[in-house]
Every structure is written in structure tokens, then in C-alpha cells.
């Protein structure tokens, strides 16, 4: 059997449902966010008030242990898998919560674990340190690069634009190209110049980072650096799909709820068939996105050989589904959907930014074409 036919085989017994453990984790995240993450405070981020994130993350990170969710118990974490992290991301998506779970607790932590830096992992798990991978948020596993170079004096020089999670981080993990391949360096944020970006999605702020002779320390050497970054971005892409499901689900639910109340022409607007059919199609799309996201999370959790197909599949599908749901949400709310006050725009901006993150849908379709032997 050649490789391409092999990659067409799928794992027969992957559980695509939510386990009881996952459901109870969801409940605790949801009830905390319902309490502490009101939409008006999330919206305030667009006017420069970032207090909510600063208050919320320590609670999520330590009280609920989310910072160490993916860290093994003997290193101070919860020893959970990508499946549980996916459920957390669904909830964070539902609230458009401005916290660095994906960037620090998932992506950066996977790099620290790969580096076997136990002390560093412990700090991340305890929430006493927060980290970010210094690549543009748009970087896909298949295409990432870096202009940051290590000089002869063993300091870093260069810049990276549009880094997600850097504002919340104390530590940066910086991919550095060398002749032997990519190294991953650890840099303290106090050593770099960070400029806030006015980003499309202010609930996941971006920063431009400049390294001007920043002291650094090799975390992962050139033999494994590129693979480590690629795997981290792939995990990010796989789990972002669940955040997209959460975004889409909120948009559908809030739109359905609104249209069950709203009356025009003497009728409940949700009773017009043109509306019913759009919402039915959207429901099908959200449930489909859920299946794709669950498959990506489950295969990532098991290190399943089909996980790369699953990841690109989930991104190729869920990124568009979230955008579609958010766009329908705005349209079907009418004028109120266009207001600053109504939270719909939080989801539109999150969904559109997420669509560009970790590679575009088109990029993921190209990756898939290679994996399943359907080359152009």
C-alpha cells in the first residue's frame, strides 16, 4: 500500500461525541464565563480597556487549572488531552473571551513540553508564566517562516508582525532560521520592543515585536525546531476549529432566539420560510463543523496517523462555517446587528480573524490535496 492510499484510511472508532468528563469541564468554564465575561466588557477592548482579560485569565488559568490543562500531572498540570482543550475553546469562542488559552496553554505549552523544560512547563502550568510563539497569527504549519536571526554575539535581531498572545506573555518562543534548520529560542519580553496593533479582532490582540540584540537561549535546537513549530501550529489549527464551532454555535443560537421573539408584519419573523430555511441550513453547517472539529481534536489527542488530514479538513470547513454563522447573525438581527452595543460584531470579527489564522482554508485544501492524492 502506498502512502497516499494509506492516508485515505480513517480511524474507525474515534469517538466524535463529548464524554461526561468533557461535559463537566464545559459546565465549569461556561458558568465562570457567564458570570465574569459579560459582552459589554468584552466590547470595551475595542475602546482600549483590556482589564477584563487581565482579570479573567488568572482565574481561568489557576482556579480552573486551564493553564496546565495539557500538562501531565507529574509536571503540575491536569494531564488532559486535546479533546478537553477543544471543549474549553468551544466555550471561549462562545464568549469571544479575551484570554491567551490557545496561544499559551495550547501552542506555547506544547513547545515547552517538547523541549522537556520541566521548570518552564511547571511555571506555565501554574499560570505563573505565560508564553507565546513569536510567529504571525496567520502562519500555517505548512508555510511558516521567520526573519529573526541570531547574530555572532548570540543575540536576536529582526522583527515579527501580528503575533497573537504576545501582550499577555512574559516569555516568547522565537523560531530562528539557521543553516542547520530552525532553532527555537526563549526570549524574555522585557528584552524586546512590542508595539500594539489595532487588530480586526481586539479580543485577541496582536503585537509587532522587534528584537534589537535581544538576549536569547536555545530551547529546541535545529534538529527538531522546525518540526516542533510545525506540530505546535498544527495543534493550534486543529483546536482553533473548536473555537470556531463555539463562535458559530453562539451566532446560531442567539439568532434563533431573537427571531423567535421579533415580530414584523404581525408575525414572528422566525416563522417566515425564507428565514427558517436559512437557519436550518446554518444548523446543518454548525453540526457539520462540530463533527469536523471533534474529529480533529480526537485525532490530535491520540496522535492518530490521520490527524494531519483531520486538521486541514477541520480548518478548511470550520473557518468558513464560523464566518458564515457570524454574517448570518448580523444580517438576521437587522439594524440592531449592526450596532456597537450588540455583541454580534465580536463574533464577526473573531470569526473573520480566525479564518486567516494558522493558514487559510485554501491553503488547507492544498495541504489536503497532497495528503489524499488529489494533486492539481
Amino acid at each position: 500500500m502506498n502512502q497516499s492510499t494509506q492516508s485515505r484510511e480513517t480511524s474507525a472508532d474515534v469517538n466524535l461525541l463529548y464524554t461526561d468528563v468533557e461535559d463537566s469541564l464545559r459546565d465549569s468554564v461556561r458558568s465562570l464565563l457567564a458570570d465574569r465575561c459579560p459582552a459589554d466588557r468584552v466590547i470595551a477592548a475595542y475602546d482600549g480597556d483590556h482589564d477584563l482579560g487581565a482579570e479573567l485569565w488568572p482565574t481561568l488559568a489557576t482556579d480552573l487549572g486551564l493553564a496546565g490543562l495539557l500538562v501531565p500531572e507529574d509536571m503540575g498540570g491536569q494531564g488532559a488531552s486535546a479533546r478537553e482543550a477543544a471543549v474549553v475553546l468551544e466555550e471561549l469562542g462562545r464568549f469571544a473571551a479575551p484570554v491567551p488559552f490557545l496561544t499559551s496553554a495550547v501552542i506555547a505549552t506544547s513547545i515547552a513540553l517538547r523541549a522537556r523544560e520541566t521548570e518552564l512547563v511547571r511555571k506555565l502550568a501554574a499560570g505563573t508564566a505565560t508564553a507565546a510563539l513569536a510567529v504571525p497569527f496567520s502562519s500555517g504549519a505548512a508555510t511558516f517562516g521567520s526573519d529573526v536571526l541570531r547574530t555572532e554575539e548570540d543575540v536576536l535581531r529582526g522583527s515579527v508582525a501580528n503575533v497573537a498572545g504576545a501582550h499577555d506573555a512574559d516569555i516568547l518562543f522565537v523560531p530562528v532560521p539557521t543553516e542547520a534548520g530552525f532553532e527555537v529560542h526563549l526570549v524574555d519580553v522585557s528584552e524586546v520592543t512590542m508595539t500594539s496593533v489595532v487588530s480586526l479582532d481586539m479580543t485577541r490582540r496582536l503585537a509587532d515585536i522587534e528584537f534589537m540584540d535581544a538576549p536569547c537561549e536555545v530551547l529546541i535546537d535545529a534538529t527538531d525546531g522546525a518540526a516542533a513549530v510545525r506540530d505546535a501550529l498544527e495543534l493550534g489549527a486543529a483546536l482553533l476549529a473548536s473555537e470556531q464551532v463555539g463562535v458559530a454555535e453562539w451566532c446560531l443560537e442567539s439568532t434563533v432566539a431573537y427571531l423567535k421573539e421579533r415580530r414584523q408584519f404581525g408575525r414572528i419573523v422566525g416563522g417566515f420560510q425564507a428565514i427558517k430555511h436559512r437557519l436550518a441550513d446554518l444548523w446543518v453547517e454548525v453540526e457539520s463543523a462540530r463533527a469536523a472539529a471533534r474529529y480533529a481534536a480526537a485525532t490530535a489527542a491520540d496522535g492518530d496517523p490521520d490527524r494531519r488530514v483531520a486538521t486541514s479538513l477541520a480548518q478548511a470547513y470550520c473557518s468558513g462555517a464560523a464566518v458564515h454563522a457570524a454574517e448570518e447573525c448580523v444580517q438576521l438581527h437587522g439594524g440592531i446587528g449592526m450596532t456597537w452595543e450588540h455583541p454580534a460584531h465580536l463574533y464577526l470579527k473573531r470569526a473573520k480573524a480566525d479564518q486567516l489564522a494558522f493558514g487559510t482554508a485554501e491553503g488547507h485544501r492544498a495541504t489536503l490535496a497532497g495528503l489524499v492524492d488529489l494533486q492539481a
Partner: protein, 396 residues
Amino acid sequence: MSDDEVADDLRRRVADLLAAHDPATTDRLEFLRARFDAGLAWVHYPEGLGGLGLPRAMQSVVDAELEKADAPDNEPRRIGIGLGMAAPTILAFGTDEQKKRFLRPLWTGEEVWCQLFSEPGAGSDLAALATRAVRDGDTWVVNGQKVWTSVAHKARWAILVARSDPDQPKHAGMTYFVCDMTDPGIDVRPLRQITGEAEFNEVFLTDVRIPDENRLGAVGDGWRVAMGTLMNERVAIGGGSAPRESGMIGVVADTWRKRPEVRTPGTHDRLMRLWVEAEVARLTGKRLQQKLASGEPGPEGSAMKLVFARLSQELSGLELELLGEEGLRYSDWTMTRPEIVEFTGRDAGYRYLRAKGNSIEGGTSEVLRNIIAERVLGLPPEHRDDKDVPWKDLPR
């Protein structure tokens, strides 16, 4: 027992079956009957009725073992209506005698089934149906006309819904029957469809006599029984746990792989979008099946059928475009009466045309959207003037 133990036990049962009835030397029908009696036909059915009362998903263990042994199957494509619609309805609503009488020859394919639901005046609005069933002692006398009846020309039995009480509002006065297609009052006439073939038929019923013992469910309960059938039909058409690249996407992907000369950047983009959608639909079906475990299909099955219909149509359309000049040719317009309902068979032109039926048969896509909107999302129902009016007083 753990899943692994159940699987081991199933493998042992298959080995016993194969030892007692070597497929290489046993008559096909005899083998199928023995398989049914061993509970290996559909393991989620009860013991004694071809199953072992196990989760539906365990069937794949049996199927894999039997495939390895080159055992004959029951040609599921030839008996789709029996397997997908009649059987679950008989199981859910039938008496013990009915289950014993009908399920075994249904499963082995000795008896083909068809579905006498739609009528000229009752399609999407099935509850408007006018075929009358009048009780005469221990039998019912049925008169009326059905239409679009797939493979009626091959069928031994039919599932039939008829109006037993015209004084009731339309949903209340119906009764569900098993109808003998060899009754002298049955007249099956081919209806040719856009592919050239006559896969479906008109069926005229004139004083057809159905013994009361062939009634499924209570008198007047026909609508509820029929809804059970339709939910299963939608899962049968759209659902399933097929492997990756089954169905129409597999056909098109094969063409793509074998024929580099047909590839263009534009068609590649469409192919990959559809590949993604087809694979996501497959996973969604699998997730739905895990949710159902061995339970009854709900309105979610409508979602699968909706997606399946759209993808079949888009994919078969893409296939014709891929073939370019070759796509201008068609295999054969000769009127035939096929034995099986084929979605992916014959040539690309046939597939393109046949796929148009996927969004009509078993509930149109518009009706399925209504169902999802109302039953899943809880949106207000469609406006209906006719709901509480006695059927006989409805405008026709």
C-alpha cells in the same frame, strides 16, 4: 462484556457459521438464511429476528469477517426499501407473527419490498392521501392510486398508507398496511424518468384485499407509523458509516486520479471544496450514528439527507464538466425497468440526471428544511388551514 469481548464473541460466531456453511460450497440463499438464523444479519436486531441485540456499530465486525471469507451478501442495493424502510417499521410496530413472517425473507432478499406512500395529490403533503381502505370483516378493501413507486415491478410486498376514516382530520384517519403485490387488484405501470429508465411506477389499486393481520400498528395510527418509516428512509438515503470516499465523491476522485488530462485549476478548487464537504458530511453521519447508538433516528437524519442530496448533485455536475467533450455523450436512453436503484452506477450523464431525484425522493430538501427549522430549532410551524378539518371536507 467490553466492546473487545463482544467483537471476539462475534468473530467466534462468524467462524462457527462459516464452519457449518462453507460459502464456497453452500447455496447462496441457504447461506444467507443460516446467517440470519445465527443472529449475524443485523446484530442490532433482537435475537431470533436476525440479530443479537447488540449496538449497531458492531455490525462492521461481522461484515469484515464475512468479506474476508468471500461470503455472499444479500445484495443490499437490490432491497434498499425493504432494509431501510420496511424492516425498521415492522420491527417497531409489527406483531410477533409479522416480524417472524416478514423479516427473514426481507433480509435474505427472497422478497423485495416497495413503498406505496405518494399519490398524485399527496407528495410533500403525504397526509392528504386519498387511497381508501374500507373494513370488511377481517379484511380491508383498498382502492386508489399511488405514484413514483420505485421498483414496484419487482416487489412481492409493499408498505402502504391508506385513508381508513375520511371523517377525521387528515393526520388522524390513516392506517398502515403490508400489501401483497401479487393481489389481482394491483396494476403496476412503468413511469419513465429523466434518465430514460423506468425505475418508478404508477400503481393502481382496485378492490385490493388486505387481511387485517397485515395491518401495521393500530387503526387510525398510520401517520405515526409512516413518520417512523420516513425518518428511517432519510437515514438510509443520507446516513450510514461508509468509509472515506464512498459514493459520488469516490467516483469523481477516481476520475481525477486516473485522468490527469482533465485537471484544471478551477476544477481542482471545486473538487477540493467538495471533497472537504463530503468528508465532513461523512463524519457528521458517523457522529449522528454514534449519538443514535441503537436508538431511533430523529429529525437530525433529515440533515444528512439534505447534505447528501446537494453533494451528489454538485459532484455529479462537476464530473460531467471534468469529462468535457466526453460529457456530451450518454450511454443509453432506451426505456428499461431496472432491478436496482443506482445512485452512482452507469455513466456520468446518468449519475448527473439520477442525482436530481435525491433532493425530491424521501422528502424534498425544502420539506426537510422545514422539519429541521421546526423540530430542531423550534421555529414557528408553517401556516396550515387544513389541520383540524375533516379530511372529506378539504378542498381538492
